[in-house]
């Protein structure tokens, strides 16, 4: 099954059937485009408005990637701090949890008061992307095989050697798992931030285009922007999965026997 062409053909077939069904529903019921545009109308809008839409996509993509990069830097640095001193973990982890469980959409208006629009959107994306990196990397750093730790001690390894040659490689698969989650969440955070900012009349990302199109009842464009957001999410997920596969394919169980 893993290598059979059915693995590719089945999901593609289902997707094609859904799109054809959508087209048929619109055509048979003579639905106007401001109620439900047919897929070909969405595609036509995508081509017609490509300049505006792709520029917006770049804005959203950039926000997401910068937030993700900062989440990696912050999450890994804090995880290393947690791993080096338990007392730091006890003191700071609850705050990270509070940051994570408070819905970012509820905090966004506050951030828009104190920060510039761009910074506020970036902060929204960073907050949600930060936690999975932090918690997974912390988990990984604490998952060192005790026997290997003893072996390092027996061999007279320094703290630095133990960190670089034992703790970081142990944490790597956990970190990459967290990164894959964080990639999707960063996009969600960016979209949430843009919507919060966009309703205030600023911003130019894809989510702002969605809000704008909804106000103008330009439903085909709304769908086109939505399509591009999905596409952005898929691209990020695929890129991070590829990264994970490249790094782990030789040794980690999660990447054996073909990709999932």
């Amino acid at each position: 099954m893993a290598t059979s062409p059915l693995r590719w053909l089945l999901p593609l077939g289902v997707l094609a059937a859904l799109i054809l069904g959508w087209e048929a529903v619109v055509k048979l019921n003579n639905l106007p485009p401001y109620v439900l545009p047919a897929p070909d109308a969405v595609l036509a809008t995508l081509v017609k408005d490509r300049a505006v839409l792709f520029a917006s996509m770049l804005v959203t993509l950039q926000t997401t990637l910068v937030a993700l990069a900062l989440a990696v830097v912050g999450g890994v640095a804090l995880a290393l701090l947690f791993a080096s001193a338990r007392i730091v973990e006890f003191s700071l982890f609850p705050i990270a949890v509070i940051l994570q469980v408070t819905p970012v959409i509820a905090v966004a208006p506050l951030m828009l008061i104190y920060l510039s629009t761009d910074s506020a959107v970036l902060l929204c994306a960073w907050i949600v992307a930060f936690f999975p990196v932090l918690s997974n990397t912390t988990l990984g750093l604490n998952s060192v095989d005790p026997n290997l730790r003893d072996l390092f001690r027996l061999s007279g390894a320094s703290r630095w050697q133990t960190l670089i040659q034992l703790k970081l490689p142990t944490a790597l698969p956990y970190f990459l798992g967290g990164l894959r989650i964080a990639g999707g969440l960063a996009l969600i955070g960016a979209v949430v931030g843009e919507i919060a900012a966009g309703s205030a009349g600023q911003g130019s990302g894809l989510a702002f285009r969605i809000v704008e199109s909804a106000y103008r009842l330009n439903i085909p464009r709304l769908f086109a922007a939505l399509l591009l957001i999905s596409l952005t999410g898929i691209l990020i997920y695929a890129a991070l999965s590829l990264l994970s596969w490249l790094v782990l394919r030789r040794w980690h169980e999660s990447e054996l026997g073909g990709r999932t």
Binding site: F152, L154, G156, A157, Q165, P169, W251, H252
Partner: protein, 271 residues
């Protein structure tokens, strides 16, 4: 106790000079569980000594104390004078093999065996002859670039043994290394280990709970009892006895196993 331990060359087996001695050693853990109490034992240079006993009798703890991975709560652990000097120069002249292979999954066989030397600051190129020699000893030269996941359980254990041998330790500590392997692989590795022991002239302390394995391998067996853990019996096995399939099926072997089993049964009834 020999007055001039440094004059004694390591012999494959037999009455070598004491390499280390544990006197009245006790070990209590933080949860106030007493693992060892009043343990007296001696390891002699060049011998193959097995620590045999039921689970929880503290034989693994004794091994960790010898390795320096834990400190005794009471009692003394004394090294022979020349060994002390040697350890001052090479503080890590002890090889340790765990019950699990304990390999780094992200490193190749070569990288795993390199580890003790790498941590001592020996680079890849400089370490290569020693690594290849250690892999040669365990018969895995052809697998230097394989990753642990590509190997069978027995092969992983061989890599683990090669890693312990790569620093050419005088003392090899093994904590039930073959307990998780099937019997066929275990017999094969028993023979290979004896071959390594003869070729390297090292001292081996071997923890096991298998009577048959201890009799087959050892020149001396220390039978442990539990609660509190200490040595309850000592058996010597003719060191010049060839250890091969003929020995494994001989009446002498059967008799030794019976004797050892009885000593173990007495140790388990002792409390």
């Amino acid at each position: 106790m020999n007055a001039h331990p440094s004059d004694i060359a390591p012999r494959p087996a037999g009455e070598g000079a004491p390499l280390l001695r544990l006197s009245g050693v006790g070990k209590r853990f933080a949860n106030s569980v007493t693992s060892l109490e009043g343990l007296d034992m001696e390891v002699r240079a060049g011998e193959f000594v097995s620590l045999l006993g039921p689970s929880g009798c503290g034989k693994s703890t004794a091994l960790r104390l010898i390795a320096g991975l834990a400190e005794p709560s009471e009692g003394r652990l004394d090294w022979a004078a020349d060994e002390k000097a040697r350890r001052a120069q090479h503080p890590h002249a002890i090889g340790f093999v765990f019950q699990e292979p304990t390999l780094m999954p992200w490193a190749s066989v070569f990288g795993n065996v390199h580890l003790p030397l790498k941590l001592a600051g020996v680079g890849r190129r400089a370490a290569e002859p020693a690594i290849m020699e250690a892999l040669e000893l365990v018969g895995l030269s052809a697998f230097r670039d394989a990753y642990p996941r590509e190997l069978s359980g027995g092969m992983k254990m061989r890599v683990s043994i090669a890693r312990a041998l790569v620093t050419k330790p005088r003392l090899l500590l093994m904590d039930e290394p073959f307990a998780a392997l099937d019997e066929i692989t275990r017999f094969k590795l028993n023979n290979d280990l004896l071959e390594v022991w003869r070729r390297l002239n090292c001292t081996i302390v071997f923890v096991t709970h298998s009577v048959f394995e201890s009799v087959y391998l050892s020149s001396r067996i220390l039978v442990f009892r539990a609660r509190p853990g200490r040595v309850s019996a000592e058996l010597s096995i003719a060191p010049d006895q060839p250890r091969d399939e003929a020995f494994r099926t001989s009446p002498e072997y059967a008799a030794l196993c019976r004797e050892t089993s009885l000593a173990l049964a007495r140790a388990m009834d002792a409390h």
